[in-house]
Assembly symmetry: C3
Homo-oligomer: 263 residues x 3
């Protein structure tokens, strides 16, 4: 038996919309810590990782940890039945065949119940290795979203270079060559505690497919800021904090540089 | 000879937009009582019935009742030439070949005249039998519109159940099963006059094609509320009052239940 | 060497958007007077003529006049990288292979550089003969834009008739016949100086393809008013003033009247 309640439907709607272009069928891992999700897109280039912490829910009652398979596309359609400020309850029976989704509006005069059919999916849990990211950049999420969207009209690939002073997005195509350089407004916080800071090291330069970065953009409505984390030969992490509830991270494998791949 | 004037183009624009997805060529019946229209959609599942009362017009001069055939799609295009607060005059000569539509803006500096070609259409007048509806529900028209639109993304058919206390919209599809239950805010008014109320009877439960209900949605901009009327084995009526001018009703035949159709 | 600076990206974005549906590859003529552009659409029915005066730029440094070929579609994509209030600098090296476009935001923390590849285009300079237009009409550009857009849904051709008192747009199609007559709000200014006014002459009546007029509509965001200039057997001029910077003119050849073309 499982039941969890969220005070406002809007944030759940946004989370599901942020995922549904990338993955369609996913396993939700429901534990005493919260609701988690990890899934790769069909081309296995990008990975989405969501964690909604137990303490972010109004109520959270779980008998024993469970994993359920759902179709995100269908859940997104069901979520549209909710008004933005509806209270949402998610529920599972023992040996469940469906996810019980209930919306109740503030005035209590309207109640929506939907039993979303569950799927049986292969449970491939993806171990994401702990990585010491040598570069962490915070950006305004709206600005990041606009930038990626416009770059995506100009070419397929963007090269991201981060130093301690700036992040630079470069592109090269038939149209021409260009770059956008943004000064990182906040100095690195870890410096202040006197610890050695690996992020001061050499700049990180890697190239990524804009198509995927553009799919991550939908999450920019979840948070005012986005964190980009990079390290050499490691997937880029694009992380959005979901206020009081958890975090949504996207991982994107770098494009292999054609010159270095030859040697 | 006929001439009628409406103070503001906006309401006529909205009415025509509410009809044009359902029917394309229609007869307008122009009588001393007003302008009426009744037409079935091409699949003969839905019927639209419009009445604009003579007293709702600023001027209304009619020599003898007449029926004219018009193409609603074309009239909708002509109406777009009007600004929302233009004054509109509709006119017909004796033995007319066209409907004269005139828009004049408030400052009188712009005048649009259009002679819309008339059509000769079969005049099939549809007798709608007087029905004693056992269920009448008032809903917020915006909420009804949103609900139908979202349900339409989830499945083809909705089952509507009305009781004296609530209206429930149920659906069942590959995605799962669900229902939205709304408490009917206002108690039945007819009760108060002490008369026997047939609406207290058994609940009415019928199924309808969401595709058509979704086409009726366009009329939700005409009124803040919508009235749903049902009775067993009778088409659903979806009625929008047009303030000071008349009413727009849609009739939709219920889907035949596959079990009962076998016996 | 050439360098010119514009205080706000927004106006340049609007200008380029106003041109890009009509022409894709164009020559820019950069002289001491400013930046000019003249190009015909691919069907050679319409011509766009743009002049941005040197005095409208913040800085304008030019060593010697030059002509560069650019792809307007690509420039439009690059311009989207700019925020509306970014400062823009355009630059050319000697013997340039690309146009250097630089955007800097107000806070100076973000800088975008793009080297747009140049094209080698045939330089067909189009002599536009000085014409004594017998009719000049000023209209609200938003009203003109809406009118053309709606007429374009009703038919292919509009006949424009101007007299000293009004401008009339007439159309005739399967739908019917109609016209929109607008009183010219301002009396002819040239009259006041006592000079003979050729614009008092006989009305001018000519027909034009709505498809092109509708493409000119994008420029209505550049100015609150639009000037229409006509003379018998001469292309219509649709002119938008670009405040403090220059003017954008479209020329459209009249449709040949089928009756008169026979004799």
């Amino acid at each position: 038996m499982f039941e969890a309640k969220v005070a406002s439907a809007l944030v759940l709607k946004k989370i599901i919309d942020s995922i549904k272009d990338l993955v369609t069928e996913v396993n939700l891992d429901i534990t005493s810590e919260g609701i988690g999700l990890q899934a790769m897109d069909s081309s296995h280039v990008a990975l989405v990782s969501l964690m909604l912490h137990q303490k972010g829910f109004c109520d959270y009652n779980l008998e024993k940890p469970t994993t359920i398979g759902i179709c995100i596309t269908n859940l997104a359609k069901v979520m549209k039945l909710a008004s933005n400020d509806d209270e949402i309850t998610l529920g599972l029976a023992d040996d469940p065949t469906h996810l019980k989704v209930t919306f109740v509006n503030r005035k209590q005069e309207k109640k929506t119940q939907f039993d979303l059919n569950l799927l049986t999916l292969d449970s491939e849990h993806l171990g994401i290795p702990d990585t010491n990211y040598t570069s962490e950049i915070m950006m305004n999420s709206f600005e990041f979203s606009k930038l990626i969207k416009e770059l995506n009209t100009l070419c397929d690939t963007v090269t991201i270079e981060t130093t301690i002073e700036y992040v630079r997005f470069s592109l090269e195509s038939d149209v021409g060559i260009g770059n956008i350089q943004i000064q990182t407004s906040e100095p690195n916080e870890k410096k202040e505690d006197g610890a050695e800071d690996p992020k001061d090291d050499a700049p990180v330069v890697q190239s990524f497919a804009l198509k995927y970065l553009n799919m991550f953009n939908k999450a920019s409505c979840l948070s005012n800021s986005v964190k980009l984390m990079m390290a050499a030969e490691t997937p880029l992490v694009v992380e959005f904090e979901i206020e009081d509830l958890g975090e949504l991270k996207y991982y994107l494998a770098p494009k292999v540089n054609q010159d270095t791949s030859k040697d």
